[in-house]
């Protein structure tokens, strides 16, 4: 038997090491659909508890929307469970093409190529469109899946300080001898919830003849006046070249991702992107659910409007209570605690109060930047927000951090 006791001991030791360092990721077992209020078993074997969820990417509250679920059911009946193949061999249905067209229209771009996830879209894109003669110039805080995609690509890599336009300009100047340049950024940065200055990025792109690529996974459907994303928020809908996004967060929350942009880039992905060529097709139920989500969002802005109202109420409530928040306009509202143990202890106490949140600390965020990242949903009702605000205030008071600024929290708890 190849899996010897030596191998078992080695892996067990690795896992124990993670537990000893406090970086072992524990799962909470959700026993209900994803929603603002969920049933959770945590820790494993404990009694199931109904808690309010402030730690989901279900921004628009559509994860269990009846019309979306109905559309998925109908697709199961009419198109089956899965395609048993990759797209280009025998796995493309008419509804895949319909979703690509609908997403292109929604984002205001020429063409779209679907992927099983946005992670795979980011893993496939760069190697397909950039070569060693070209330059990829990315923000340093882009999502890990972009980093993976950049590493797979042979183009010359430059990166700039987070949202620093002067540093980006320096890098564009350094890359001027390259054949093609692509500036790469998240639209909304998932840890801080801040928005990339796409208007200024597009100005620099024009000045130095560069393409602009945005991962808008934490924006599509709800950022901007009609929820088109960060390019709408910054009024540059006709100036961003390529957008990758996910159907796995605001847009229903199942799975699936995409690259949208000029029709040639969408087609290049279909011809050459390895995750497209070698991963199974998005399942019909998810495709039909995603089409329904885009139809809902194209008809009305009710969901994104409610999310905006909820976010404002939540941010103001936490701020009034005396928490130190990262400034911003997005439904990602980080409560800054700086100390990892404090973040973990407070998250545990909040769970006891019926509020489901997670502490984030290094290496997920930079050293000394520990926090509880709260996320707001259109699925939250006012009573949910009020209950959570009361719980946060109670626990914040217990730890004596209300009204304290960064230096004071660090002085009290250390880094």
């Amino acid at each position: 038997m190849a899996y010897s006791s030596k191998a078992r001991d080695f892996y067990a030791g690795e896992l124990q090491g993670m537990k000893d360092k406090g970086i072992f990721k524990e799962e909470r077992f959700i026993q209900s659909p994803q929603a603002a209020s969920i049933k959770v078993e945590y820790p494993k074997g404990a009694a199931i508890k109904q808690v309010l969820n402030f730690c989901a990417n279900n921004y628009l509250g559509l994860s269990s929307h009846p019309e979306v679920v109905k559309a998925a059911h109908e697709a199961l009946d009419s198109r089956g469970y899965g395609l048993s193949s990759v797209r280009f061999i025998c796995g493309t249905q008419d509804i895949h093409n319909e979703l690509e067209q609908k997403l292109s229209e929604f984002l205001g771009l020429e063409g779209t190529c679907l992927f099983p996830s946005c992670m795979e879209a980011n893993a496939g894109l760069f190697d397909v469109v950039l070569s060693p003669e070209d330059a990829m110039i990315s923000d340093r805080l882009v999502h890990a899946s972009i980093v993976d995609g950049l590493k797979l690509c042979k183009a010359q890599m430059f990166n700039y300080k987070h949202n620093s336009m002067s540093h980006l300009e320096e890098k564009l100047q350094e890359a001027q001898s390259c054949r093609l340049r692509m500036i790469i950024t998240d639209g909304v940065f998932s840890m801080d919830g801040d928005i990339a200055p796409l208007d200024k990025i597009c100005d620099l792109a024009d000045k130095y003849d560069a393409m602009v690529m945005v991962d808008d996974s934490h924006a599509t459907g709800f950022i901007g006046k009609t929820g088109r994303g960060t390019h709408e928020y910054h009024n540059v809908m006709d100036r961003v070249d390529v957008i990758t996004t996910t159907f796995g967060k605001g847009l229903g929350g199942a799975t699936g991702g995409s690259v949208s942009g000029p029709k040639e880039i969408a087609e290049m992905c279909r011809q050459r992107a390895r995750p497209y060529l070698f991963s199974n097709t998005m399942p019909p139920a998810v495709v039909a659910g995603s089409i329904k989500v885009l139809e809902l969002l194209s008809k009305s802005t009710d969901h994104r409007d409610k999310l905006e109202k909820n976010t404002k109420y939540w941010r103001e409530g936490l701020s009034k209570a005396g928490f130190d928040l990262k400034a911003g306009d997005t439904p990602i509202v980080p409560v800054m605690l700086y100390n990892a143990k404090l973040a973990q202890d407070m998250a545990r106490d909040l769970y006891a109060e019926g509020i489901y949140v997670i502490g984030f600390f290094f290496p997920v965020v930079a050293q000394g930047q520990a926090r509880i990242r709260t996320q707001i949903s259109a699925g939250h009702e006012m009573e949910h927000l009020d209950k959570a605000l009361a719980a946060f205030t109670k626990i914040g008071d217990k730890y004596g951090i209300l009204g304290l600024k960064k230096d004071q929290i660090i002085a009290k708890y250390g880094l």
Partner: protein, 85 residues
Amino acid sequence: MSDEIKKMIIEYVKKEYLDEDSDQEIKEDTKLISSGIVDSFSMVSLKTYLEKKFSIKLPDGDATPEAFDSVNNIIELINKFGVKV
């Protein structure tokens, strides 16, 4: 020569990786990777800088987070590849 090269690398790290308003001090034994000053993604630009500056090629297998974790470690690394320090 050794001090000059150390100073040059420290200046590069400060300019490239610290915020303009940062008052963080970088010394030759300051932890760069394990402290989060330089993340593993940004390490690529540091590697490129060293290769261009000293006209060397650092194989990926040698350009590890440990090898880049302090200016002293970097000096040791580039020394192995023919840079006289």
